[in-house]
Amino acid sequence: MKWLLRLALITTVLLTPALVQAHTAIPAKIVDAQAGPYAFEVYLFADIAHAGQAYDLMVLPKTPGFRLTAQLLPAPGLSATPLRGQVAPDPDVPGAFDVHFIDVTTGGDWTLLLGADGPAGSGEARVPLKAVPPPAIPIWLGWLVGLIPVYGLLWFAYREWRRFELTQRAA
């Protein structure tokens, strides 16, 4: 019985950070935005995004009754395509929207474009967002790793040719 209690305690300690973060997270930044006739607060749970990872935010309407769309637009010159956010009602905060971007595809400057459309009209709000890329390996190292299969292929070709020559000599 004691081992069961210990296991429960360890599990609780390990899971607590995740439980605390699961949706009662403290936002890093709250931005007031206006999209046409609709006003809302944008809760950014991280004030910078990490390229290659998902990005989440919450939109809390001040003026309710609109449909929300969300996109991340790359800054001019950034080699990326616009990203569509998945918008869903927040399960814990009545009237709020959760916005989830599966993958911020590359590092650089982005603009969060929030569109509101409802009986009172429609509009867009823009919130700048920066995405930080992971550390870059030197390009020479990238090539060194990337060409590993080529080295293998050349070694295999050489080995096969040697085997063939030995077979021919034996014959």
Binding site: S79, G146, P149
Partner: protein, 390 residues
């Protein structure tokens, strides 16, 4: 542990045929997934240009990597079960028909190679994603992990080539060559299909030479695209002709590739158009038109026909020197023909260079020399594949 046994008794023949059927069935599945992977690659390239990339698991990536995963699992299954059968002493699975690997496994070398190719592709995927995260979606095709992935695909097709070459050789040795279609046995057709991947990889690797890297050098001006084609296409022709033992094999391979390529291009466009409409994607401003060029990559057919004609002429000459020279001369003629028929390069170059036609003609000379050398290398590779039964 089984030892090499000469296939002489009816029981040995039956065991050999049974083992061959098992391997050929797995090989056909590998071929299917190989083609799916190639089609997925064509679709992925088109999707990048037309729609962009908002995640790693885009529809073409899903299509492509499911093929890679399936091919990898089939290869793994065959390596493990062949090892088990070898250790049990199953007839037909012996040192003459398997290759030892890592001192642990005994399996047909084709499945080992194909499995390693799939592993390479699966390793290249996250690394390529990392590179895109750093440098954006419109990176050059000539980046480390794109090349890693392309070489991985090539390794898979080399594995399948080994598999079908071994089965074709074993069938020849057993005398099981009565059933033919247009003069080729089933394994020989499988081999030809596997070799089409070399054409596919060559055209894919050469793509940037139609845009960012038009010239190898500017003074003197030498076109890069025909040179790159001269590396891969004559190599494949040489392999085909030597392994199958028929000069027409080059044309058969080229025709198969042309059909698969046309189907790939059509699938890429139809799949993109359907998904854009169904999922509400938008096209990029730089998206190409959805129309298909009915003769994409026609240089391969031109090159194959020239290779075939030159080869036939030279091997008909009853001297050893002429027969030895056959792959060299055929490669030279094929590469020159490929270069002169390179309308894709010419269409781009005429908008940027003053004497594009002259540049192409000069480049054809260099391409011919490269083609001659690579055809000879292909002939050598074909000789190796002609005698393998592992």
């Amino acid at each position: 542990m089984s030892t090499t046994a000469a296939v002489s008794t009816p029981a040995d023949l039956a065991a050999g045929r049974g083992e061959s059927r098992r391997r050929i069935l797995a090989g056909v599945l590998l071929l299917y997934f190989g083609v799916q992977g190639s089609v997925g690659l064509a679709w992925d390239i088109f999707w990048h240009v037309a729609v962009g990339r908002d995640r790693f698991l885009t529809p073409p990536h899903v299509f492509m990597y499911t093929a890679v995963a399936a091919a990898g699992l089939i290869s793994l299954y065959m390596v493990l079960t062949s090892t088990w059968r070898y250790r049990r002493g199953v007839a037909g699975v012996n040192d003459g028909t398997t290759t030892p690997w890592l001192r642990l496994f005994h399996a047909p070398v084709g499945f080992v190679i194909a499995g390693l190719g799939c592993l390479t592709l699966l390793c290249a995927a996250p690394l390529d994603n990392y590179w895109h995260i750093l440098y954006g979606i419109d990176v050059d095709l000539w980046t480390p992990f794109h090349i890693m992935g392309l070489v991985g695909g090539l390794i898979v097709s080399i594995g399948i080539m080994y598999l079908f070459a071994s089965e074709a050789n074993r069938a020849r040795r057993r005398g099981d060559t009565a059933r033919r279609l247009l003069g080729m046995t089933g394994p020989e057709w499988g081999f030809c299909l596997a070799v089409t991947n070399i054409f596919d990889q060559t055209f894919t690797v050469a793509l940037p030479a139609l845009s960012q890297h038009l010239l190898l050098s500017s003074d003197p001006a030498v076109a890069l695209h025909p040179l790159l084609l001269a590396v891969g296409l004559p190599l494949a022709f040489g392999i085909l002709v030597r392994q199958v033992g028929r000069t027409e094999a080059a044309v058969v391979g080229a025709a198969l590739y042309a059909l698969i390529n046309l189907a790939s291009e059509g699938f890429a466009r139809l799949g993109t158009a359907w998904l854009v409409a169904a999922e509400g994607y938008s096209y990029r401003p730089t998206a190409p038109p959805l129309g298909i060029n009915p003769l994409p990559d026609q240089q391969v057919v031109v090159g194959a026909v020239m290779f075939w004609l030159a080869y036939r002429y030279f091997i008909a000459v009853p001297t050893r020197r002429a027969r030895r020279a056959a792959p060299w001369v055929a490669g030279l003629m094929a590469a020159a023909g490929i270069a002169l028929a390179d309308r894709q390069w010419l269409a781009v170059a005429t908008t940027r260079l003053e004497n594009a036609g002259n540049v192409l003609m000069i480049s054809a000379i260099l391409a011919a020399l490269v083609g001659a050398l690579l055809a000879a290398c292909g002939d050598g590779a074909g000789r190796v594949l002609r005698q393998t039964e592992r």
